[in-house]
């Protein structure tokens, strides 16, 4: 589904991603962990097509298509979804209008008819229920005045509404209390099927108790320095990043 080869990316003149290789297959869940500033959000933004990040080398293939040739909206319509670490507030645009526009643009792209207002409303109600979301949030301006937790929940609500093929969740767990974490993780599990994939960016093993990854990768200074199964997350929790990063130093010095 997703193949990343030797990806290098630069932000404001500084190289942040320094040769990432990653393959994600349908049905898989990958967790990406790593210290602050290691480039996790940069990778997520590059995948979503944020023009603030310049790709200087490497390739990204999504379902056999060159993702780097696509505009952000094309990527979304092809099935890439990013749950933002910091969701953006958009005053004056209601959540409902926003989602309706997005869904219908995608349907247009896929040569499907627009959703009727009723179909749309029913779908919203169903998905909001999964996330225990107050329906009043749906008519409010996108993320405006939402609490930190409500914003994160709203990202997963959008995920459920848009039904992408690949979901990239950038620290969706930060700012959630333990109950909200369970609800949001359940939302992700409802989404996850054999034909789609999830990349979870997180600092905490806690989330991975609920969203169980097939693979865990450690990103350090713009490179994946270690990959393993879900037990790697536990090990990291116990030993900290020094444990893998010192390995990295050794490999570098060879």
């Amino acid at each position: 589904m997703l193949i990343i080869k030797n990806l290098h990316a630069v932000v404001e003149g500084k190289e942040i991603l320094r040769g990432i290789n990653l393959e994600v297959k349908p049905g898989e869940i990958h967790a990406i962990m790593g210290p602050n500033g290691s480039g996790k959000s940069t990778l997520a933004n590059v995948l979503a097509g944020n023009k603030g990040y310049e790709v200087t080398e490497g390739e990204i293939w999504f379902e056999g298509k060159n993702l780097l040739d696509m505009e952000p909206d094309e990527r979304a319509k092809e099935g890439v979804f990013l749950a933002f670490q910091y969701p953006v507030e958009i005053p004056g645009v209601s959540n409902a209008t926003f989602l309706k526009t997005a869904i219908n643009e995608k349907r247009k792209y896929l040569n499907l008819p627009e959703l009727s207002p009723k179909e749309f409303l029913d779908m919203m109600k169903e998905k909001a229920k999964i996330l225990g979301m107050d329906e009043s949030l749906i008519s409010r301006s996108v993320n405006v005045g939402f609490s930190g937790g409500e914003k994160k929940r709203n990202e997963i609500f959008q995920l459920l509404m848009l039904e992408p093929k690949l979901a990239i969740l950038d620290e969706t767990d930060s700012g959630l209390d333990i109950d909200a974490l369970k609800i949001v993780a359940n939302g992700v599990n409802v989404f996850h099927k054999d034909d789609n994939a999830v990349i979870v960016v997180t600092h905490y093993q806690r989330l991975l108790n609920y969203i169980v990854p097939d693979f865990v990768h450690v990103l350090y200074k713009g490179k994946i320095v270690k990959s393993g199964g879900k037990e790697l997350a536990l090990e990291l929790e116990e030993k900290g990043y020094d444990w893998v990063t010192s390995n990295e130093l050794e490999t570098q010095s060879i």
């Binding site: 952000p72 909206d73 979804f81 004056g92 526009t101 997005a102």
Partner: protein, 447 residues
């Protein structure tokens, strides 16, 4: 040709046409003659403003003076059908319709049947002839001339719209006034002169809808005098969508009495060079005034909005919000004056002026002007000029929305603070749609 030579040449052009014009009028005597005489004297005395004039500092009117516009009274009026004008109307709600073509009221294109009792709406020229006494108490209000365009309007004034609403009458539907300007034969000067009198405790809602006709350059030079008497409520929507290469200058002069409410919307899409002067005098206590402005300009359009809210008496509230969207090499001007006269205590006056620049060539000149001569007042003003929020644009696009649509969603959201204040739901939607249309024409042009 130097500016001063050009300016005096143009003055002579309009004055010599006036002689032909007054002969055509055949000496019919009414209230208008008095206005015209004063206007000709003023027009002769005043000069066209240069940019040295503080009131015209950011607006160069020279382009307008390069054309010899023929006063519309001297040429024929285009014949339009109901079908043709239908396309120009705001629709899907009930309204009375008055149509003014190049400043002249056209009965066949109007629909003023079944107006409530106590409401007179129609041709200013005709009503002045038939019932001059109706204007007795208002004559002075309607004679104020303070700039040369204002004078020029009155020099050629011979028709326009009049609305008189008697005491306690509430008009059940909005009145849409369609102004169609331009002519396929020649470059015309259209000079509608309009009067609105809302008597004590009356209520009405008017939509002044300005559209262009034909492909010749034209100049709309309009005036509107408004009297809102005690306890009366007037909702006033000006929506200007003239031809993109036309000139549009209008002065709206309002006098409000005690406990009256005035909600004014000034929405501009069209015109190459546009100047709006909107002045209201709060000449009583417990008055409320709301000014909402919105302009969306592109290409080389120039829109200059000058507003004046004159707090003459205590205990009044005024609130002003202007929003601009400027693309390409367009230029906006906002000058908002608030006067609080001595003794106008307990005045509340608020002003906000915001704009987004969609390109590096677009520009806004802005000047708030607060002159406060009372001490117990609350008065705030703010201005903000910026660009579209890029992170919001990326966020929207990341959900599958194409760039142009993402931008237009953000722009409509920006405009929404003004649009949402409109009280006619269908009008709101159609204004939103126009914003969308104008934004996408930009895209069309670029491709």
């Amino acid at each position: 040709m130097s500016q001063s030579v050009l300016y005096s040449k143009v003055k002579n052009w309009y004055l010599s046409n006036f002689e032909i014009f007054s002969k055509r009028l055949n000496g019919s005597k009414n209230f208008f003659n008095e206005i015209r005489e004063k206007a000709v004297a003023k027009f002769t005395e005043l000069d066209f403003p240069t940019r040295k004039n503080e009131e015209w500092k950011y607006t160069d009117i020279t382009p307008i003076l390069k054309y010899n516009f023929v006063p519309s009274a001297l040429v024929s009026i285009p014949k339009l059908t109901l079908d043709e004008i239908n396309k120009l109307l705001f629709k899907d709600f009930d309204f009375y319709l008055a149509t003014i073509v190049n400043g002249v009221f056209v009965e066949e294109l109007s629909n003023l049947e079944n107006l409530p009792k106590g409401v007179i709406i129609g041709s200013l020229n005709k009503i002045l002839k038939d019932r001059p006494e109706l204007f007795d108490n208002y004559a002075n209000d309607f004679l104020s001339i303070d700039n040369i365009f204002n004078a020029l309007n009155n020099v050629y004034a011979y028709d326009g719209l009049v609305m008189i609403v008697e005491k306690n009458v509430i008009i059940d539907k909005p009145i849409q006034v369609l102004f169609i300007n331009g002519n396929n034969e020649s470059e015309v000067l259209s000079s509608p002169k309009n009067l609105i009198i809302a008597k004590e405790n009356s209520q009405l809602s008017v939509i002044f809808n300005y559209r262009g006709f034909g492909d010749k350059k034209y100049f709309t030079n309009s005036t509107v005098n408004v009297s809102i008497d005690e306890g009366a409520i007037l909702d006033y929507y000006k929506i200007q969508e003239e031809n993109e290469d036309s000139y549009h200058i209008e002065k709206i002069d309002v006098i409000q009495s005690t406990k009256s409410v005035f909600n004014q919307f000034n929405i501009n899409f069209g015109g190459e060079l546009v100047r709006n002067d909107i002045n209201t005098k709060l000449n009583g206590e417990y008055i409320e005034t709301h000014f909402y402005g919105l302009y969306l300009v592109q290409g080389k359009q120039h829109v200059d909005n000058h507003t004046l809210i004159d707090h003459a008496k205590p205990n009044c509230l005024s609130n002003e919000l202007y929003k601009g969207i400027l693309d390409d090499n367009s230029h906006g001007v906002f000058n908002g004056k608030i006067f609080v006269r001595p003794g106008a205590q307990k005045t509340n006056a608020y002003q906000q002026n915001k704009a987004v620049l969609l390109s590096s060539g677009a520009k806004l000149d802005t000047k708030p002007q607060l002159e406060i001569f009372a001490d117990d007042v609350k008065c705030t003003h703010g201005a903000a000029v910026g660009h579209l929020d890029e992170s919001a644009e990326f966020y929207i696009r990341s959900r599958g929305v194409p760039e142009e649509l993402a931008k237009s969603i953000l722009i409509r959201a920006f405009a929404n603070d003004v649009v949402e204040m409109m009280k006619i739901g269908e009008l709101k939607e159609q204004i939103n749609h126009k914003i969308f249309e104008h934004l996408h024409r930009i895209e069309f042009k670029n491709n």
